[in-house]
């Protein structure tokens, strides 16, 4: 399987973390909070769409709520492949980071 892009990776993780509250706005909020960078709504939609296309996410609509102008929410969920992708991602990242300490990075030499 090809590696995911950073934004896709983050969005996928956020969906996993948020579980059944995972729709565009909380995802955006979580990413913004953690990264400290103001993610725009559209920068969330694109990775979400791609992940759905790749079969890593599915989505369903909830009942309409008044604070959204009577419109539905689209809640995202991980598919089994999505979970597999997270597992693989975690493995790869840990392997990549192994042996790299923060101290060493701050000192400037291995």
């Amino acid at each position: 399987m090809k590696l995911l892009s950073r934004s896709e990776e983050f969005v996928l993780l956020a969906v996993w973390k948020l579980q059944d509250r995972a729709y565009s706005l909380p995802i955006r909020k979580q990413l913004s909070d953690i990264t400290g960078y103001a993610w725009s709504l559209s920068s969330i939609f694109t990775p979400l769409e791609r992940l759905v296309k790749k079969g890593l996410l599915t989505s369903h609509l909830t009942e309409a709520t008044p604070e959204r102008g009577g419109r539905h929410k689209r809640i995202y969920q991980l598919t089994p492949q999505g979970r597999q992708a997270l597992i693989r991602m975690r493995d790869v990242e840990q392997a990549m980071w192994s042996g790299v300490t923060r101290l060493a990075l701050e000192r400037g030499s291995g």
């Binding site: 729709y23 709504l41 604070e67 959204r68 419109r71 539905h72 689209r74």
Partner: protein, 862 residues
């Protein structure tokens, strides 16, 4: 949140966003709104709103591109399929294309003509402040308005009223123009010096100031070309002769630029007004003499009403000078905005647009457009049967009704656009030259200079496209796929619609054909008229005054071929005089001929009772008048001899009644009379010849004339040619009518052909079964075409009375006494036969399919 207003995102932006995102994108729209609220609470409503708007703007370019992209693809697809359909149904496409392009060509020509006709004389820059002086007078028991005015009126008004900036009089008269041996009869216009200040007639060469020079003449471009060709005209000498042998040489001091197509009055030769005093002894200060037109230019048009109210003293002044012509009032009519009834004004220098004529002209393209649009509707409805499956499949595949409508409209628009191009071509290459050849008014078809034409063409495309395409498109697009595929769909419900259209088409075809046939037959009828005298034995020479008359008569009256010689001021078929006649206190505006002794004998007019003028008549003291039989009948005189007429203050006694004779190709029994004329105003010398010597005498006459009058043109005609111009213009009219009738019939029959072919294709199976069961070909042919026959019969029944009463009314409008062919059954039978045969021929080609189709082939299919 600060206020209610900020509870929701900006409505306009929200609506735009909703439009940009399709239905499937409603969820993100919700996200946006929720985020908006979040932002509003954290950062304030203003920031949130600007954010929302920003989001919409950022979305806009991409989504717009996507939307138009797909629409363009779809549009392309519409036109591709339209193009293929047109190619596939070649016959139907040709019928539609032909009809529409002919109709478009007619419309274009009529449009361009009306553009000129409705803006006659509007190009004068001072038009708003220029007024024509008219007067009203009571004649024949009705109030008439005339466009002429007394000669001194203009200068008097300009001198009296400070509101008037200047006055310009025009007077037009005939004369001979001589240059290097060539002699031509021309109309010469005399105008006051302010002419070029008042009117916008720019000069190409020379100065407008030349008009104040009494020895100068200013030419139109056409005349400069006629006399001098490519040579410069300025400084050339032209010799003018007016009546009474007065000859004078003028120097060309100006040449006008080409006049616009919409000029009403104009000039060929322009000479200073006061010059008339020297030339023909015109009494320029006499209130009893009228000039062709007086224009005044005022400083403010709003003063005109007050001015008109102050005209009463001039009415009195005029009537004191001229008892026979008692003016009721003077009026002013603006040059640019003439009164709505200006076309009724008599003797107006520039004829105003006549509403009847406009309506008649409009009728031609409207009939053609209606015919071809009906064809289109009928043929598309008929063809839709064959396309039912296509429509069904398209619908099942998810095409919306609107998309289908668009597709059919695209087909229609493509066809209309092609017809527009073709129509432009027909108009440019054929109709405009034809028009300019037949009519005096010239038209120019120019897409670069005529901006209005562009708007007209676009409008025409829209109107024709909508009129022909809208109904079929909506009708066809509304078929239900389920009904189509079940296979028992019939169009029977809508057949009355098609039939009504076809009937209307044929009503129009009948009307045009009957009119065309009638005009042609009537032309022949007029040619066959008994003239009331043997016209082939009279030769007429155009002369000028008593000197020419006396010398020529003395020279020729001894000639063996000459039986009789007479002079006259007017001449039957050529010219007439007008006079106010007072019979027992009733004033009438009537026509008369001023003739010398022996004129009746020279022409061969027949005497009904009494006597003709005495041969040794002393015209100055004469009070004899001869009337025609119609005159006596109109007055109800059983004993006309001895009755009296008062003409111009002189009392005449009727001494003879002449049998009615043809005075105009269409007039025989209009009341008319003859007065004795002195030799001074003679314009014609009529010679009665031995039968069969006409050509020889004319040849013998010419050298005599050349010897006697080397400086004057020899101009003569045979009396039996005198109506040729009328006959020719009547023949042109008949030809135009026949063209229109032929086109209308052709377009209608093409429509019939299209429908018949569809009808037969639809019923081929039924007909084959009938044939198998033993039906004969004629009976089957009758069965299939019975519907068409009924329609033709109904159309004939509607059109015949319309034509009968319409044509009768038309002749009555020209003159209640106008000669015309009585409309008998033969006219109608001939027209019916013509149409029925043409219609039968167009259907017969289809009927062949019936005869030749082998039932086995047709029925085997399924």
């Amino acid at each position: 949140m600060k206020s209610r207003r900020h509870d929701t995102p900006p409505p306009l932006a929200e609506a735009l966003l909703g439009w940009l995102l399709k239905d499937a994108w409603q969820t993100p729209l919700g996200d946006f709104e929720e985020f908006y609220h979040e932002l509003a609470t954290v950062r304030g409503a203003r920031r949130a709103r600007w954010w929302y708007r920003g989001q919409v703007l950022r979305l806009l370019p991409d989504r717009l591109y996507e939307k138009t992209y797909w629409h363009t693809i779809m549009l392309q697809n519409y036109f591709t399929s339209a193009y293929r359909t047109l190619l596939k149904n070649k016959v139907a496409s040709f019928i539609n294309l032909f009809g529409l392009s002919v109709a478009v060509a007619c419309s274009i020509v009529v449009y361009v003509f009306l553009q000129n006709y409705l803006t006659i004389d509007r190009f004068h820059e001072n038009g708003e402040t220029i007024f024509l002086v008219e007067h009203t007078v009571e004649q024949d028991n009705e109030l008439q308005t005339w466009g002429t005015s007394p000669m001194p009126l203009g200068p008097v008004l300009a001198a009296t009223f400070p509101e008037i900036e200047r006055s310009v009089r025009l007077n037009s008269r005939g004369g001979l123009v001589q240059y290097e041996g060539g002699i031509f009869e021309e109309r010469i216009v005399f105008a006051d010096e302010g002419f070029f200040d008042m009117f916008t007639f720019p000069l190409a060469y020379g100065s407008p100031a030349a008009l104040s020079d009494p020895s100068a003449v200013i030419l139109s471009r056409e005349m400069a070309y006629k006399y001098f060709g490519q040579e410069p005209a300025l400084g050339k000498q032209l010799t003018f002769s007016f009546g009474n042998d007065h000859t004078e040489t003028f120097t060309v001091q100006g040449v006008a630029e080409a006049f616009p197509d919409n000029r009403g009055f104009y000039f060929n030769f322009l000479i200073n007004y006061d010059k008339q005093r020297d030339l023909g002894g015109e009494r320029l200060d006499d209130w009893a003499v009228f000039t062709s037109a007086t224009f005044i230019q005022v400083r403010a048009p709003k003063d005109m009403e007050a001015l008109a109210a102050r005209m009463t003293p001039y009415v009195a002044l005029q009537n004191a000078a001229n008892e026979e012509w008692t003016v009721q009032s003077f009026l002013f009519d603006n040059l640019r905005h003439p009164a709505s009834d200006a076309y009724m004004v008599q003797g107006r220098v520039a004829e105003a647009a006549h509403p009847g004529f406009i309506l008649m002209l409009l009728a031609i393209p409207l009939v053609m457009l209606a015919l071809s649009c009906f064809n289109y509707v009928n043929i598309s409805l008929g063809a839709s049967v064959r396309r039912l499956r296509e429509i069904g499949v398209r619908k099942v595949m998810g095409s919306t009704k609107m998309q289908l409508v668009l597709q059919f409209m695209a087909e229609n628009l493509l066809l209309c656009f092609l017809s527009l191009l073709l129509g432009l071509g027909i108009a440019w290459g054929f109709l405009v030259p034809l028009f300019n050849g037949v009519f005096v008014n010239q038209i120019t078809l120019s897409l670069t200079e005529n901006l209005g034409l562009w708007f007209f063409l676009v409008g025409l495309l829209a109107v024709v496209g909508f009129a022909s395409g809208a109904y079929p498109a909506f009708y066809i697009a509304s078929f239900q796929p389920v009904v189509i595929f079940r296979g028992n769909y019939t169009l029977a419900r809508k057949q009355w619609f098609t039939r009504a259209f076809l009937t209307v088409q044929f009503v129009l075809a009948f009307i045009t054909v009957i009119s065309g046939v009638y005009t042609t037959l009537n032309g022949r009828y007029l040619l066959r008229q008994d003239w009331g005298y043997p016209a082939d034995q009279t030769l007429v020479v155009r002369i000028n005054g008593s000197d020419q008359f006396t010398r020529l008569r003395n020279e020729i009256h001894q000639h063996p071929n000459v039986v009789e010689v007479a002079g006259s001021e007017h001449h039957v078929g050529e010219s007439l005089g007008g006079a106010v006649v007072d019979i027992e206190g009733v004033k009438k505006n009537m026509r008369y001929y001023g003739v010398g002794p022996r004129y009746f004998e020279a022409l061969g007019l027949r005497l009904a009772s009494g006597r003709f003028f005495d041969e040794h008549l002393n015209v100055d003291a004469a009070s004899d008048a001869v009337i025609n039989r119609a005159f006596a009948e109109a007055e109800g005189w059983t004993e006309p001899i001895g009755q009296t007429l008062r003409v111009d203050g002189t009392i005449y006694t009727v001494v003879g009644v002449v049998e009615d004779f043809l005075m105009h190709p269409m007039l025989r029994d209009r009341p008319i009379f003859f007065l004795p004329s002195g030799e001074q105003p003679y314009q014609y010398l009529s010679i009665r010849l031995q039968a069969g010597t006409a050509a020889a005498t004319a040849a013998a006459l010419e050298p005599v004339w050349k010897r006697l009058f080397p400086d004057a043109p020899f101009s003569f005609f045979f009396q039996d040619d005198v109506f040729d111009i009328h006959y020719q213009s009547y023949a042109n009219l008949a030809e135009a009518f026949s063209y229109i009738a032929a086109l209308a019939l052709l377009i209608s029959c093409m429509g019939l052909f299209g429908l018949a072919s569809q009808n037969i294709a639809r019923r081929l199976k039924e007909v084959s079964i009938r044939k198998v069961l033993g039906a004969s070909v004629p009976s089957v042919a009758l069965l299939v075409n019975r519907g068409f026959l009924t329609m033709l019969a109904v159309a004939a029944a509607i059109a015949s009375p319309v034509c009968y009463f319409g044509l009768t009314a038309l002749f009555t409008a020209f003159d209640a006494r106008a000669l015309h062919l009585p409309m008998g059954p033969d006219l109608f039978i001939f027209s019916y036969t013509l149409i029925f045969v043409t219609a039968a021929l167009s259907v017969a080609m289809q009927a062949r399919t019936l005869v030749t189709a082998n039932p086995a082939d047709v029925l085997r299919g399924e």
